[in-house]
C-alpha cells in the first residue's frame, strides 16, 4: 500500500503509526495514550527536538508562548535550570501534558496528539527560517 507513497506521505504515516505505538493497551481506554506512555513517547521519539525548543525558548524566542494549547510560560523556559536536559525536560514535559489534556481525563487522544505535533512543528519551522535568514544576511 505504502510503496508508492511520497516522502511527505511516508512522514505522515510515521507520525500516525507513532501514535498507535504508544496507545493504551487497556481495553477501557481505546485509542488514547496514557500520561506515562506519553512521557515515554516524548523522551524516546521527540527528545532532540524538544530539547532544542525548550533550551532555546527564552523570552525573545517565538516559541512557545504563541502556540495555543502548548502554552508553556516563556519566563520559565528562560530559567537556566531548564537547559539541564533531564530535569528540565521532565518538568517541561509534565507541563506540556497538563496543557494538552484539556478535558483532564489523564489521556491523550489522537487529535490532542496531532495538535501537539503541529505545536512542535511550527516553532521548529520558525527556527529553521530564522537560521536561514541569519545565514543570508
Amino acid at each position: 500500500m505504502a510503496d508508492c507513497y511520497t516522502d511527505l506521505e511516508k512522514a505522515v504515516v510515521v507520525l500516525v503509526e507513532n501514535f498507535y505505538k504508544y496507545v493504551s493497551k487497556h481495553s477501557l481506554v481505546k485509542n488514547k495514550i496514557s500520561k506515562s506512555s506519553f512521557r515515554k513517547m516524548l523522551k524516546n521519539e521527540l527528545n532532540h527536538m524538544l530539547t532544542i525548543l525548550w533550551s532555546r525558548g527564552g523570552p525573545h524566542s517565538h516559541f512557545p508562548c504563541q502556540i495555543s494549547g502548548l502554552c508553556v510560560r516563556s519566563h520559565s523556559l528562560a530559567d537556566p535550570r531548564f537547559c539541564r536536559q533531564d530535569t528540565g525536560n521532565r518538568k517541561a514535559a509534565d507541563k506540556l501534558i497538563q496543557n494538552l489534556d484539556a478535558n483532564h481525563d489523564g489521556r491523550i487522544s489522537f487529535d490532542e496528539y496531532w495538535t501537539m505535533i503541529g505545536g512542535i512543528m511550527a516553532p521548529i519551522a520558525n527556527l529553521i527560517r530564522q537560521q536561514e535568514q541569519q545565514c543570508n544576511s
Binding site: T6, L8, H48, S55, C83, W114, I124
Partner: protein, 104 residues
Amino acid sequence: MGQCQSANAEDAQEFSDVEKAIETLIQNFHQYAVEGSKEALTSSELHNLITQQLSHLMPSTCGLEEKIAHLGGCGDSRVEFGTFWELIGEAAKNVKMETPGRGS
C-alpha cells in the same frame, strides 16, 4: 552544562524517525511556500503541494478543491502552517482507517 548551545547539526544526526518525519513535513511546506513570505502558502501553492505530494492520502476525489476554497475565501488568501497542519490531520485520519488492525 552547555546544553543550551548543543542544538545543531550533530544533534540532527541522532533524530528519531518521528523527528525526521517532522523535518520532512517542514521542508515540504517551505519548498512550496515560494511566493511572498515563507510562513504561508497561497491557495495555488497549497493545491500544488497536495496534488503533487499527497495524492495518495488526499485524492482529489475527496472534495479537495472545495476544502481549499473554504480555507481561503478569496484569491489572495494565504494558508499558514497551522491550517496546513489541520488539513494534513484529515489525511492522517485516512491512514488511521486504512490500518485498523495494527499489531494484530
